[in-house]
Amino acid sequence: MWFDMKLAWRNIFRNKRRTFIAGIAIGVGLAAMLFTDALMIGMKDNMIRSATKSFLGEGQIHRKGFRLTPDVEKTINNLDGIISNLKQEEAVERFTPRTVTFGMITSPANVSSVMVYGIQPSSEKFLSQIDDVLKEGNYFKGDGERNIVIGSDLAELLEVGIGDRTVITATQAESGNLVQEMFRVSGIYHFNVKEMDTGMAFVRLSKAQEMLGIGNDVHEIAIKFKDIHFAAKKDNPFWSKYSVHGNEAVSWTTLLPQLHAMLGIFWISLLVMGIILFGIVAFGIVNTLFMSLYERMFEFGVIRAVGTRPSGIRRLILLEAGALSLLSIVLGILLGSIITLIFVKVGIDYRGIEIAGTSFHEMLYPVIHIQQYIIYPIAVFAFTLLIGLYPALVASKMSISEALRKSL
């Protein structure tokens, strides 16, 4: 076997240029896979972060049924118990309570329906990025109870600016009476996501609770975990633990099914790309091995004539395929690492681009995982051997006398 390996290794260097070109072709395929995988992971993390960090949180707790029909009186049950438990959760980094209600916002110039959120600015700033994307005014600075922060498109629609008055009309709990409160625009944000820039308005939690007549109750608790992947883990007991007392705790995968589905498609596109790249690799290998085989027909004839069994010929060709693959893997890892590391350093600017309702707010950085450098090289190696079987079978089945006639 050692002798065969030595022979195979030397054989692939008989035509250095061809081997180098084939090695580069396969290596580029592998490098592309390594880079794409790293980019996909980076993009996935970035999209999850962008979607959850902007406002949603990585998970939320509501009264059961609130997500379907967000009635004002459907506040979270056992709020104090939940807050006390969340404070002790090892996995939870931050959480914030909110009230959520449909309302009408009116200015002297126009009127629009919005989701009115009552928020606690001190904890909210860790869960959402409203304060980060303010383009005018401030984020609930001072004690102004009647401050309201709205999106840029909504401000444009209402034709209001900082300090201008608006009126929120909402329904009170229990009585169902309409209530109107005046607010002054204290901040205008721009998320670059249409729904958020036109359809949301933020007021202080205490004022919202008072307006809605729900005492100290809230409709929503948004949660951020220490590990970004925690929320999406399958069979995570966290959600069932908090889905008690008539409440419902769900992760972003349930809250943003379109993003979840989109990320699923990411892997399909990676798979499709993988199939295409592996197809190119396959043609590269088969072409190289066959060229090498036809060039050495007489030699194979001699080797068979002197007593090498057909299995010996198959082994030799497969070893040559393996040697070519090893060489290509080294080239691919080198190339893939260099390209990925460059982009890990400089990043890719996707900021402002919206995909599946999620706008990128951060630079996109590929994420290198050690598994990429194990799985893909092994896959290329195994695939090369699999593809090498074809020329190996052809070589082992050729007629010796015909092979001996070939190059003379």
């Binding site: 054989n11 260097f13 030699e299 080797i303 002197v306 069994r309 007629s399 003379l408």
Partner: protein
Amino acid sequence: MENNGQKIIVTENVKKDYKEDDIVVRAVRGIDLTIKAGEFTAIVGPSGSGKTTFLNVISGLDMATDGKVWLHERLLSEMNEKELSDFRRDHIGFIFQAYNLIPVLTVEENIEYIMLLQGVPKKERHRRVIDILKEIGMEGMEKRYPPKISGGQQQRVAIARAMVSQPELILADEPTANLDQATGAELLGLMRELNRKTGMTFLFSTHDRMVMERADRVIRLKDGKVEKDERKSQH
């Protein structure tokens, strides 16, 4: 090895047809022949007379269309591909016209190739390689690669490779065809000497008058049949 007159090759009405561009070519048209151990025999004839085809058939490189071939009392048609490979490895040495050697293997590695297939231990292989290189006058050249030695030296290495595993039969297909006359004569002398020394059977297919002159027996083929089978007295 002693020349005991044992029958090495026996053929009985051997025929071989092959197709070339949908035309059936009758290369060998019924040859009955017996080659005994220790013979130094040349098969001669014009191009297309069936020399190489006949050599391929009696060595199991190709199967006869009809007729029987016994090699060492084994009927070749009864062996499968693997058995034929093992049989050739253990009983037949091959020398071809040119490009005999694997260019990426050294002289030593080329010679030991068959012994490797036979599972001969490394030390024994090395000893035999050194001995045979001495025998063919190429001692000290074991680490050279074929492209770095002359054509004549390459054929010497091919002879060494064919003989090193001590087969009973050496088949040589036009071994001097690509060599100049002096080198050819030198190689032929070497093979003759080895034939006498070891008793190995040599069977050549050749055009070379020099080979015919030195052979004990000359079998002349014409149109796939034996035209003349001439035995000479021992040199």
